[in-house]
Symmetry: C3
Subunit: 139 residues, 3 copies
């Protein structure tokens, strides 16, 4: 059993940016030479999250509309009063979606579905440089 | 430390089907003879998810109503335009609920609560044959 | 590789109580003397969950309002008819938020963001004594 902890750095374009990181995850797995185990994908930061969905333009638009419906950006939140930074909605969306996914792999392949891409979700209201921790445990 | 990766295959009855897989997970744990570690449960596919709740008829009905309220099925989504398959709502529900759970075990027992069943959620709009990856890591 | 499974016991003050457990998790990591690996945090019980957000009064209020909006407490649910215990909303919120998080660590530090606290969410409608399983796997 081995553990490898890698950093994936992303530049995002601001509120609502959804970035497909599946290829980067596959690259990290390949480079590790591990065959069987689990990959933890962890979004660092309280206005950032990871999820998985079929990464195509129609659904990307749908996901943005869903977040807007569940947690509207056009109102103020208690958090905005605390810091005056107007990104209360960003924090709420990140907490709801969650920061971590665990993905099993076997025969050196991620066991995700064909249409099941792993996606980093920038919820903050401005472009950010982001860090995702990718940790592999296996053999 | 050992890793075991098992496939659990399910036949679902279509949109909204919620299937209690707790007994199957306990069976896989028992068969593994592992005593302490973590079980990752991963739903393969972008219109499928896993969650946990008390599996009783009232709450099963409530969960279906909650998904319908948060992501209505009686409207069209951008995703539907892409493929013409009318299951945009299925993808959105799966992304919101998430594909993976990690369950600790000790003394050969899953450390879930008495009323905390693990449930596979079919969100697609037709019956499917589904695969759940159950991966154990422990000793 | 080592596995350590610890129990964290909390007393909650009832519906909506959000408790910052980050210091307790850091203490368990420190005591373990493990340097690199993953920490699974699992909320035992079907009306209890874990999430992560910036733990400050404005956002704590916002989170409570978000749960109330998504799953209102002032109506009855199918689950309430089953048991007569009126906490259907508690179960639904817990299922939506999810019971588990996986947090990577390296150089003996949790790799969470500076403002990304780990929070236990009491969704039940009365004070409870709660158990959180904290499992470390690493070296």
């Amino acid at each position: 059993m081995k553990i490898l902890t890698r950093d994936l750095t992303l530049k995002t374009s601001g509120a609502g940016d959804l970035i497909n990181i599946t290829d980067e995850l596959r690259g990290i797995l390949k480079e590790s030479k591990l065959k069987e185990g689990a990959m933890t994908v962890f979004a660092v930061g309280s206005t950032f999250a990871v999820t998985s969905f079929e990464y195509e333009p129609g659904l990307i638009k749908d996901m943005k509309e869903l977040y807007e419906k569940l947690v509207p950006s056009n109102r103020s939140y208690g958090h905005d009063d605390t810091w005056g930074d107007a990104n209360g909605f960003s924090h709420l969306r990140a907490a709801l979606q969650g920061p971590s996914l665990t993905l099993p792999f076997r025969s050196s392949q991620l066991l995700t579905g064909v249409w099941q891409q792993v996606v980093a979700a920038e919820f903050d209201n401005r472009p950010r440089t982001r860090q995702i921790i990718v940790q592999l445990m296996g053999e």
